[in-house]
Amino acid sequence: MTDLTHSTVAELKKLLTAKEVSAKEVAQAYLDKIEKTSSLNAFLDVRPEVTLKEAEEADKKIRSGEASPLTGIPIAHKDIFVTLKWASTAASKMLENYMSPFDATVVERLQNAGFVCLGKTNCDEFAMGSTTANSAYGKTYNPWDANAVPGGSSGGSASCVAARIAPAATATDTGGSIRQPAAFCGVTGIKPTYGRPSRWGMIAFASSLDTAGIIAQSAEDCAIVLSEMIGFDKRDSTSIELPPEDLTVGLNAGVKGLRIGVPRAWIDKAEPGLRDAIYKALSVYESLGAVLVDIKLDKANLGVPVYYIIAPAEASSNLGRFDGVRYGHRAKDYNDLLDMIKKSRDEGFGPEPKRRILIGTYVLSHGYYDAYYIKAQQVRRLIAQEFDAIFKNECDVIAAPVSTDAAFRFDAKADPLSLYLSDLYTVPGSLAGLPGLSLPCGMSEGKLPYGLQLIAPKCEEGRLLGTAHAYQQATDWHKLVPAGY
């Protein structure tokens, strides 16, 4: 039997529908491989009995003819989505063994679509970080190179898909947390338009930025899964009131006449290997009929300082609820209530959440609110307006780097600030709420993947996926699997 774990979502859909393989067989294949590759530390909670039970239910439906097209396909969920049947920790000691009494909307919708859950994937604590090394449960390794970071905060999900221990995995992106790990792990990741997937059940980091998305082996796979995830949810007040959309419909639209905006200043800042890979990818697009247009991104360069005021501010507020009173970590020794809360929060939070809570508390505090928070929200509007104008007048999508180089080593960027600065290409799109996608476009000399970012206007996920798909029809970067996996 061919290695089932080297199937795409699209292929598994065919196999299961044709009854060539059972959901149980598929699930077992992945569970076996998850166990074999446990040193990757991509998963935080795996419960084989629970997964197999879901697979059995899927098989029952397939046999009785009640199945939907995607019944039986496995999926992994980033441990930032709460789930009824697996622990939900946000990769933090604060939520060790926390069992949610409800499923996140994203989890619910994928379950209703027939997906079988393999477990919860590792991430940076409370989705804060770019390495997954901020997890309180140990780092996840990049399957391409154990010394390199898988990226973050959705490093677990990206690593899973790269190592083919899950055909696809849900993830979240606040400042680049889907696009960057997807790029570092050589897989495809999409962050939809803010508000399109529901935030109900997503453990909150930065409420005006958090967006659920998907990491998979291709744009086609992303389109299949994302279609099930998006759509209005009345439980989320910021949910966009659009009906669900079948994103596979526009996949083969091609790129003839598509105007691709090229911010040369951004691309030229990248390391030579990556820079060349990006320009090569742009040539491929030209050969497919796309038109390259030089664009200038100016206000977008303020993305990092703006992001690192707004995101920590919202985070400091959202993380206030973790006080050891109703759930979560409670300190064992304390003098009184105040002491209990302070110690519980000191013990439960790792260094990165603490840093962001303190920055956030400071920028919201009396006397600093106008100069920091309000100012940042004003510059945010300038950034959004710049994108609007470019999309209105100059191009249909923007092609840009995801980062300045391939995945860096774990010991490379030690200080928080340098990590923050590496978000420069992804945070601007996040601040404007725009959809962004990352796809593999090459390999470094050190055999680490290079990623290309595509950014589109609001609600143009179809255009993004179609543009990525066109490239993936003409190239094979997305088909590469790291040795041993």
Partner: protein, 482 residues
């Protein structure tokens, strides 16, 4: 030294919605702990708020009732502080852009000598926010229990300008506000359940001084009695302090009814930095002019208008009218009873007289009256058209009250209460009385008016109370004049 007292009140009114302001859990009172606390109320990870339309509608109603501006656009802000009964460590409230701006409330204030005057004060604003949970003490030694049933119930915080000048004015305002929120149906105003709570900001200054003195805030006064006592104490305290050369320190205080004093709270709330910022989980609240007009059209007539109508159209005295509008169920009872009458004053007299007297004696509220407004109306119709007299009306009223029957006309028949209006019969009765009471006739003729009443009384007795009193009077006078 003459002192002026300056008071501003902040009132938290719980809105009478079925569900909470940001979650679909029940907002009703008294359930077992945490059985009305859903994941949103418990601030479980992953939860998000969605705004209750009825809470907004009630805020609009209130704004219209006090002649305020209802904002077309208002924003929910997060107010941060840590307390175990505040699960998110922030309260969703409104800071810079509240839903209601300005407004006025008028009310009657009683002077010590019993005279009254009208006062109108301006309101600063009213805004929507969520309530916190409750701390329960004494369950386990050294521990406090947290019940989050109340967390998330909708509140309207109503803030006055510092225009109240005495505890009497403060209480009068609070009472008027209390009646108003119940009148327009935005709150049940149940103070036992904590649905109407006042914080009083109190300061004093030498009369004539323009600058305000330093104020202290007395929190959580949930009865009018405590409100008055707390303010009185605080005024005495501040005046005493300043008179002895001391300075009033701005602080939050609690009123201790057992010792009749205010005490500074342990937590220094004034140094709290609430770090307000717009809640990113909620979008701005937009209220269209159309919606405001819809709500305006559905509002009940406001007390001032009802008062004017009672006085000008019905000819009821101001004092009586004020009493009738003091409580909306009472007003509705009166209106229903008066519906079929030409002379509404008759109903007014009965309602504020006989009905209230009976209800008070039996400790019943108007809603619990054994005689319904319709039944009273029927009685008064028969009284007006002369079928029965005053005594007869009282008899029917008592009969219905004691559940001896419920149809007015039937009772008049069975109890034989029809008034005797036949002049012949009355004449005959009077003739008999005059013949039987020569002494009384003499006393009358020698100038004793009292004897007349006695003769009337005799006539009424002789006719078993059924004679038409007006006719008795007329005929008797005529006969005596002969």
């Amino acid at each position: 030294m003459e002192w002026e007292v300056v008071i501003g009140l902040e009132t938290h009114v719980q809105l009478s919605t079925k569900s909470k302001i940001f979650s679909g859990a029940s907002a009703s009172f008294g359930a077992e702990p945490n059985t009305h606390a859903c994941p949103i109320d418990l601030a479980l990870p992953g939860c998000l708020p969605v705004l209750n339309k009825s809470a907004v509608e009630k805020a609009i109603r209130f704004g219209l009732a006090i002649d305020a501006k209802v904002a077309n656009r208002s924003v929910f802000d997060r107010k941060h502080y840590f307390y175990p009964d505040l699960p998110k460590a922030y309260q969703i409230s409104q800071f810079e852009l509240p839903v209601v701006i300005g407004g006025r409330v008028s009310f009657q204030v009683e002077n010590p000598d019993g005279s009254t005057y009208q006062k109108t004060i301006n309101l600063t604003r009213a805004h929507l926010e969520e309530d916190a949970g409750k701390s329960v003490h004494g369950i386990v030694h050294g521990k406090t229990g947290i019940d989050l049933n109340r967390a998330g119930t909708p509140l309207l915080e109503i803030v006055t300008e510092p225009e109240l000048r005495s505890s009497a004015e403060a209480v009068a305002y609070a009472k008027a506000l209390h009646e108003l929120v119940m009148w327009i149906g935005v709150s049940d105003g149940d103070m036992q359940k904590g649905n109407f709570r006042c914080d009083a900001n109190v300061s004093v200054r030498p009369k004539g001084q323009k600058e305000f003195g330093t104020r202290c805030e007395i929190k959580n006064l949930n009865s009018f009695k405590f409100l008055q006592a707390a303010i009185d104490y605080e005024v005495r305290r501040q005046i005493g302090l300043i008179s002895e050369g001391g300075k009033v320190v701005q602080a939050t205080r609690l009123y201790d009814p057992d010792n009749d004093e205010t005490r500074e709270m342990r937590t220094k709330e004034d140094s709290m930095d609430y770090r307000y910022f717009p809640d990113p989980d909620l979008l701005p609240l937009e209220i269209s002019d159309e919606w405001i007009e819809e709500v305006r059209a559905s509002m009940p007539e406001l007390p001032e208008k009802t008062l004017a109508r009672l006085i000008n159209e019905y000819g009821i005295s101001e004092a009586d009218a004020l009493q009738l509008i003091s409580h909306r169920p009472l007003t509705e009872y009166f209106e229903k009873a008066a519906a079929k009458l030409k002379d509404k004053k008759i109903a007014a007299n009965w309602v504020k007289g006989e009905v209230m007297a009976q209800l008070n004696a039996a400790e019943l509220s108007i809603e619990e009256s054994p005689v319904s407004a319709e039944q009273l109306g029927d009685i008064l119709v028969r009284y007006s058209d002369g079928t029965i007299n005053q005594k007869g009306a009282r008899t029917v009223f008592s009969a219905i009250w004691e559940k001896k029957g419920d149809k007015v006309d039937e009772l008049i028949e069975t109890l034989g209460l029809k008034q005797i209006s036949d002049t012949g019969a009355i004449e005959a009765a009077i003739d008999a009385v005059l013949a039987a009471n020569p002494k009384m006739v003499e006393e009358f003729k020698s100038g004793k008016e009292k004897a007349f009443n006695a003769l009337v009384g005799q006539t009424m007795r002789a006719t078993k109370g059924k004679a038409n009193p007006a006719q008795v009077n007329e005929i008797l006078r005529a006969k005596l004049a002969q």
